[in-house]
Amino acid sequence: MGQAQGAGQQWVRRRWMGVLARASTATLEQAWAALEARPAYDFLRRPEIGMVMVRARAGGNGQRFNLGEMTVTRCTLRLAAAGPDAGPEQALAGTAYVAGRDARKAELAAVFDALLQDPARRPALLAAVVEPLAAEQAAARRAAGARAAASKVEFFTVAREAGEAAGETAGAGESGR
């Protein structure tokens, strides 16, 4: 696998992990029930609830600060090997970190993450599960954005005319008007 391809795949996986983590448990449960073949899996790490510190920067470039803690549930599991002669190296491991305390959701998201790493199953799963969820989440985000935009108040500073600014002495500032 080439370096660029590896990085690209990592990005693709990051995207579907995000989409799965934001999906509701009910939708994941539906998608799981809709699968033709539901593989067996065993847990490397059972769903466990923990806290993570969310850090932020004011304005995107200020000092980093601790915004607050949030609850996160994580899970790692391994699919049973596909064929009878498949060694443990062929087994696919899936991981999920989801907001909240829903163990089942973390489990389902991890199963889908593992399934999506299988090149044979990926295209179908992306089309049937990930893309619809991504579209749904994007639409919800746009709707929320539109609601917020309606109440948006613009604060801005009027720039002084170029000529006027040049005519003034430095330090005179706004008090001259």
Binding site: M1, F43, L44, R45, A91, A93
Partner: protein
């Protein structure tokens, strides 16, 4: 480790306890009993998978005792495959110590190349409990030879020799006795059994 290598390691990673809380409690109880009765072998519950050269008792103890706050030093026999380090980091988040003196726990699969005991952390007078605990894998235990063990927890002195342990270790252990309460706690493992040699136990010929 690159993300791809990490992913590959995850695919073949042995699992931890099936019942995290109950199994860890059962192992902790056995380890505590072993420390309370030096020289008496005890059996630990099985673990579902063994990374690298670890024996069942060593793996169970590591899963029971290690966490984010316990740097673990691995000897070359354990360290070489990288599997044990990956397994410890994934399941317990334990940092891997680069040198013996940084470690809270040490795992030794090749007792012949055990570093001198005084290279490990012996604790300090305010906090003697900061002395390291060594998990040493041996072939078996023999109760018809070896030094005479006596002290707290032993109603009568007994003899015990972990097979494969070089004799110099006994001399190094005796040299540490004068530092008590500073010192090291040793746990020998063979298969799924363990024997503890806490720092309070005296060894004589």
């Amino acid at each position: 480790m690159s993300p791809a290598a990490r992913e590959a390691a995850l695919r073949s990673l042995p699992p931890a306890f099936a019942e995290e809380v109950l199994d860890a409690q059962a192992c902790f109880r056995e380890a505590m009993e072993a420390m309370a009765r030096p020289g008496v072998p005890r059996r630990l519950p099985a673990v579902p998978g063994l990374p690298g050269p670890l024996q069942p008792a060593t793996a169970a103890l590591l899963l029971t005792l290690c966490d984010l706050d316990t740097p673990v030093w691995l000897d070359h026999a354990v360290c070489d495959s990288g599997e044990v380090a990956a397994w410890l980091r994934f399941h317990r988040g334990a940092p891997i110590a680069g040198r013996p003196e940084e470690a809270a726990f040490a795992v030794v699969a090749d007792p012949a190349s055990l570093p001198p005991l005084d290279h490990f952390r012996l604790g300090d007078p305010e906090y003697p409990d900061r002395g390291a605990t060594l998990l040493i894998q041996v072939a078996d235990f023999r109760d018809d030879r070896g030094p005479l063990w006596s002290g707290p927890g032993l109603a009568a002195p007994l003899r015990l020799q972990p097979l494969g342990l070089p004799d110099r270790v006994w001399a190094e252990r005796r040299a540490l006795a004068s530092l008590f309460p500073l010192g090291l706690d040793l746990i020998f493992t063979a298969g799924s059994r363990l024997v503890a040699l806490p720092r309070s136990t005296r060894l004589e010929d």
